[in-house]
């Protein structure tokens, strides 16, 4: 790891009128680090994620990102063209519902290849070879490359969405409930895959989840949110094994034991 963070967030707030989306969130994210944001629904996790990924503009606060040239850029002062370019090259966004992140009417290969074509790749053979490679890395059979995601199961769609996001070699990936709506065995394999990819590629990731097990498995550090504010943050194992804030204690003790 380098001695400079990848993303610096300071005093980030988002209000919907007089309602709080998230308030005064401050943290640094380091290269290769996975940060989990947990909390119950309505606690502002997704608002925070959308602000960080510039899909929403915050009401106040700053976030600066270290570009590939090593310079920090203030995200909310970039032009829309620059932000969108960042979104499809250096960043990835994995939606909870794969249909939001995939083009459902074009083939799996084109879904993976779209980002490559968006950054100017114009060689069909190379694009296809890259798509084949990425499909195999997310455990999708090569002979499904020309099928539309509509013909895929939920778990396959989610894996395809991950491949589509990672094909340009991003340094930061945002994930919104990546395992939501999948059954447990599929979840387990997806988590395994994600953990492998994150380690192999040295990705930094911000994972929003309400599932503490997902946070435990994927992340090194976590933030617990309640009513739009961060109530506790720290190393994942510390927070889960020794929760300090009363709300975190409640959250951890609410996990169903099988």
């Amino acid at each position: 790891m380098t001695d400079e963070p990848l993303l610096r967030v300071s005093g980030l707030s988002k209000f919907y009128g007089s309602r709080i989306g998230c308030e005064n969130v401050t943290f640094d994210l380091w290269p290769g680090e996975v940060l989990a944001v947990v909390g119950e629904s309505g606690s502002g996790k997704t608002t925070l994620l959308n602000c960080l990924s510039t899909r929403l503009l915050p009401s106040s606060g700053t976030a600066s990102y270290r570009m590939r040239d090593g310079q920090f850029r203030e995200l909310y002062r970039m032009s829309e063209a620059e932000r969108r370019f960042l979104m499809r090259t250096d960043w990835g966004f994995v939606h909870q519902n794969p249909a939001d992140g995939l083009r459902m009417t074009v083939s799996a290969g084109a879904n993976v290849g779209e980002r490559l074509m968006a950054v100017g790749d114009r060689h069909y053979g190379k694009i296809r070879a890259t798509a084949v490679d990425w499909l195999s890395r997310v455990e999708i059979d090569e002979d499904r490359i020309d099928d539309e995601p509509r013909a895929f199961s939920g778990g396959m769609r989610q894996r395809l969405q991950i491949a589509r996001n990672l094909v340009t070699g991003p340094r930061l990936v945002f994930m919104d409930e990546p395992t939501g709506g999948l059954d447990v065995s599929v979840q387990a394999r997806l988590l395994d895959l994600l953990r492998g990819l994150v380690t192999d590629l040295g990705l930094a990731a911000i994972v929003v989840t309400h599932d503490l097990a997902v946070a435990r498995l994927l992340s090194q550090r976590m933030m617990v949110m309640k009513d739009g504010r961060v109530v506790e943050s720290g190393l994942t194992d510390r927070v889960l094994d020794d929760p300090r804030a009363p709300y975190t204690q409640l959250l951890v003790s609410s996990i169903l034991q099988v």
């Binding site: 969108r84 083939s107 084109a110 779209e114 980002r115 950054v119 114009r122 060689h123 020309d146």
Partner: protein, 299 residues
């Protein structure tokens, strides 16, 4: 033509023509950019060339010579009607001769005879947005044009190759204009795309229902999109025109009988007739210069 006074010259009122001319000028200033305009109701249904007719009505003057083609032909319903319309409401001279026309309104073809400086080609456009079938939101496609995000257009071509082994798009083949805007050349066959590149004629595109005008000024680069390993290529025909023996022209298939008989003839009727008048004969050409069957020559 006694009822000419019933209409303003060229049917549209002067304010409307000024509005459309402003849109045309803006389109010429930003090649390939779709300029919104307040499209009017025309005395014809959408899909029959209301956009092209409004553009023509706005630029036509009493001294212009108008040619109208529909799929290359001067003698089909749409072409005959629009030609008659302008003869009535603008009292202009009309012709079928590509070289002498000053304005050529076209549906789905570019004439075979090379266009020259000073001529204006007016296209009738059904769907001006090349990204429409990939991205249904107009707000999003306008943003994509603004930010020059055209990766999606290649997704379409990728899909073609993945499904058919080659780029199977044969008409409305997307082009990039002057290195900036991706443009739908209207449903012309891709055979005609190279003719748009650095054409000395002014090319104007009118979409009446979609309320958009765009333009390619003379001598502008128009490049068809493709992949390095699947380069753009035009349709080829393995036989010449059956009537005039022309090669390297766009051919239409014409069914001759109920037993599978067919022939391929020039889609550009003016070009075909001129060649036959010059003595060129295809293998199915009759002794006279008339087409086979009971067809009369076009007026």
């Amino acid at each position: 033509m006694t009822d000419i006074a019933t209409y303003n010259f060229a049917y549209l009122d002067e304010q409307t023509k000024r509005m459309i001319r402003r849109a045309i000028l803006k389109g010429i200033a930003i090649p390939g950019y779709q300029v919104p305009f307040a499209s009017r109701e025309m005395p014809m249904p959408y899909g029959w060339g209301t956009g092209g007719v409004q553009v023509t009505a706005s630029i036509i003057g009493p001294d212009d010579v108008l040619k109208v083609i529909d799929q290359g032909a001067d003698d089909t319903t749409n072409a005959v009607s629009i030609r008659a319309f302008f003869r009535k409401v603008a009292n202009v001279a009309v012709t079928t001769d590509t070289a002498t026309a000053t304005i050529i309104q076209t549906r789905h073809r570019i004439p075979e005879h090379p266009l020259s400086a000073g001529q204006v080609l007016v296209y009738q456009v059904p769907i001006p947005e090349p990204l429409r079938f990939l991205e249904p939101r107009e707000t999003e496609t306008r943003k994509m044009h603004a930010l020059e995000e055209y990766g999606l257009m290649h997704v379409k071509l990728y899909e073609d190759i993945a499904k058919h082994g080659r780029i199977a798009t044969t008409y409305a083949y997307p082009v990039k204009v002057e290195g900036r805007y991706v443009m739908d050349p209207s449903p012309t066959p891709k055979f005609d795309n190279p003719k748009m590149h650095r054409s000395p004629a002014l090319q104007l595109f009118g979409a009446g229902r979609e309320k958009r005008i765009y333009a390619v000024p003379p001598f502008t680069d128009v490049v068809s999109l493709d992949f390095e390993d699947h380069p753009f290529e035009v349709q080829t025909f393995d036989q010449p025109c059956a009537l005039c023996a022309a090669e390297n022209v766009y051919l239409d298939e014409v069914i001759l009988d109920d037993h599978g008989g067919h022939m391929f003839v020039c889609s550009d009727t003016d070009h075909c007739e001129k060649r036959r008048a010059d003595g060129h004969r295809g293998h199915l050409a009759p002794e006279s210069h008339l087409a086979p069957g009971k067809m009369e020559p076009a007026q």
